[in-house]
């Protein structure tokens, strides 16, 4: 019998680049130290990985790069706890651990031919970004693309430089916004909260699906707006962030009622969420 591999032992990855996105958010680009592993590696946008620094521990992050990009993956984190505090000092050439990819993914194939609406708040940009790039790289497969992204202040927008690049694509509308008082003198985006900005934006909602990720309060007030626009619950998607340790359905903490977020999630439609207990 072939010996079982150790499902908890990560692959080693080399840090290629670190970008400071905001005062407390960084994005990191990594590559498998083992070339063969890198060549074999496949994932789908929306999946996540367990990223670790030896001596500090593991954390769960969405893979925020597009699945079309070969040779490296990217993740993004906010400095909030023991592991992310340690990750904050990562530099080029450092080594981290990676397990994954885990979880389900955005049903990009199902979205072919649809208009796409991406709505995000604050640190929730990374899990949208992988899907946005994927859609732009397969531009002919999708209809109109609208991206509403808000943060408290201008300097809190993650992947801010990419917003302009996305806007250059055909039939793509980017609606950046900041909370009232968070604008700078030369800010040209919207001022207001994400739900209100979404409502004002007059987004054509026919034949559309929406991916909405952000703080619970943002999601709560955005959902009625989408409903008013005519989106059905089955056309509204989100990604849950339940705490995980193992990522492989064993450690017992990420379940939301009957579903294990690490295996049956993290991506759910609003229709599915409504059938689950509110444990997220």
């Amino acid at each position: 019998m072939r010996p079982m591999t150790n499902i908890y032992q990560p692959d080693l990855m080399e840090v290629l680049d670190v970008q400071q996105q905001t005062t407390d958010v960084k994005s990191v680009r990594v590559r498998f130290r083992d070339d063969a592993r890198g060549d074999d590696f496949l994932f789908r946008v929306g999946q996540f990985g367990m990223f670790s620094l030896f001596g500090y521990g593991e954390s769960t992050f969405n893979i925020c790069s597009s699945s079309n990009w070969k040779d490296f993956v990217e993740f993004c984190f906010r400095r909030t706890g023991r592991v992310t505090e340690a990750l904050w000092s990562l530099e080029k050439n450092d080594t981290i651990g990676f397990r994954g990819p885990y979880g389900n993914s955005y049903p990009m194939d199902k979205w072919i031919g649809k208009n796409l609406i991406f709505i995000g708040g604050g640190i929730a940009m990374p899990p949208l970004r992988c899907a946005i790039w994927y859609a732009l790289e397969n531009r002919e497969q999708f209809g109109d693309i609208t991206i509403v992204y808000g943060a408290r202040r201008v300097q809190d927008l993650v992947f801010r430089q990419e917003l302009d690049r996305w806007a250059e694509y055909d039939r793509v509308r980017v609606v950046p916004c900041v909370d009232p008082g968070g604008e700078t003198p030369n800010w040209t985006g919207e001022v207001g909260f994400v739900p209100a900005v979404t409502e004002r934006a007059q987004i054509p909602a026919g034949n559309a699906v929406a991916l909405v990720i952000g703080p619970p309060v943002m999601i709560k007030f955005t959902l009625p707006v989408l409903a008013k626009m005519g989106l059905a619950d089955r056309d509204i998607y989100t990604s849950l962030e339940n705490r995980m340790k193992c990522g492989v359905g064993k450690c017992g903490r990420c379940n939301c009622g009957p579903v294990y977020v690490c295996k049956e999630g993290p991506v759910f439609t609003l229709e599915q969420l409504k059938s689950l207990p509110n444990e997220y």
């Binding site: 079982m4 032992q9 001596g55 962030e241 339940n242 705490r243 359905g249 009622g257 207990p277 444990e279």
Partner: protein
């Protein structure tokens, strides 16, 4: 025809197993009023009668309380990961209660569901489980309410049943059990009667249907009000398997380890943002009940509970699953 063995002969077998370098784990009277599964050093430590059940469980034989997953060494930019050595000592669990052994097939599902856990499976292969049918019960036993019984053979490789006068009937269940007792038993015409077991309190196999409607009930706080959140129910449970993974050691060398954890702790589900989906103790108790009697059964077709009663026995305020389930059922009957 049945097979029998005398208790002195069993103890001679234990002696031999120990000499062969095998690890023997059995109920041991640690002190008055405390029986616990422990590795034994001598055959006379093994309890073969006179106890209801140990306060711990045999899960630690296949799923240790604390274990290294791998080690890391950091030298400059060079990092090496060294796999934790695979367990290689053969283990024999002797005189385990059927409600302990029955949890092993339950754990098997968890540790093999899509991703297979190598050290768990290795320990499982190395372990032979010999159970001892129960003849004594206490107020917390409820195996008969979850579709089990005192001579249930689920998870057992061989089952022993007391025939009185220092004699045990041996029923081999698996090949492992067969080979363990090959040539050690005598043929006999005596068979142990099936005892009634503890009084059947409810059909908890069907409580899942009631739970279907009970998640949002406001009574959860009342039903679980006295819970202290200490986690003792989970640690003493043969089927609870939640764990935590952390790094131990420094930035230059150490190990990633897994430790038993429990869903009763507030930190268990705390998000990095500070948000906690199970913020109240009653939500955490509800999770434990749902996981065992609704979530797991829907996935794997059996309960995540063997009716051993250890959760109540170990609970400092005598809660555990049965009192909560009885409260839910009483409400349902109204």
């Amino acid at each position: 025809m049945s097979q029998i063995i005398s208790k002195p002969a069993i103890r001679r077998l234990v002696e031999r197993w120990l000499r062969q370098g095998k690890r023997v784990i059995a109920p041991v009277q640690v002190r008055p009023n405390l029986v616990s599964y422990q590795p034994v050093r001598s055959p006379d430590q093994v309890l073969l009668e006179g106890f209801v059940r140990p306060l711990n469980s045999i899960k630690q034989v296949v799923f240790p309380r604390h274990e290294q997953l791998f080690q890391y060494r950091v030298r400059g930019k060079q990092i090496d990961l060294l796999p934790a050595p695979l367990p290689d000592v053969e283990r024999i669990v002797l005189a385990a209660r059927p409600c302990d052994a029955a949890a092993l097939p339950i754990l098997d599902h968890v540790f093999n569901w899509e991703f297979r856990d190598a050290t768990y499976n290795r320990r499982r292969e190395l372990t032979t489980v010999v159970t001892l049918a129960c003849t004594e019960y206490d107020a917390h036993c409820f195996c008969t309410s979850v579709g089990s019984q005192p001579n249930d053979t689920r998870g057992s490789d061989a089952l022993l049943l007391d025939l009185g006068d220092q004699t045990l009937e041996v029923r081999c269940v698996t090949d492992k059990g067969q080979s363990l007792f090959a040539g050690q038993t005598e043929a006999s015409t005596r068979t142990a009667p099936t005892g009634p077991g503890p009084e059947r309190r409810a059909d908890l196999r069907r409580v899942g249907q009631q739970l279907e409607q009970a998640f949002e009930r406001s009574e959860w706080a009342a039903w679980t009000n006295r819970c202290l959140g200490c986690g003792a129910c989970a640690y003493g449970c043969p089927a609870c398997h939640c764990f935590d993974m952390v790094d131990e050691g420094g930035p230059t060398c150490g190990a990633r380890v897994r430790n038993w954890d429990a869903c009763q702790f507030g930190q268990f589900t705390l998000h990095a943002s500070g948000h906690n989906p199970r913020n109240a103790q009653s939500q955490r108790q509800r999770q434990r009940i749902y996981h065992k009697f609704h979530v797991y059964p829907n996935k794997f077709g059996e309960l995540l509970c063997t009716g051993c009663g250890n959760c109540t026995r170990n609970c400092p305020v005598s809660l555990g699953v049965l009192p909560v389930l009885e409260a839910i059922q009483a409400e349902g009957a109204k």
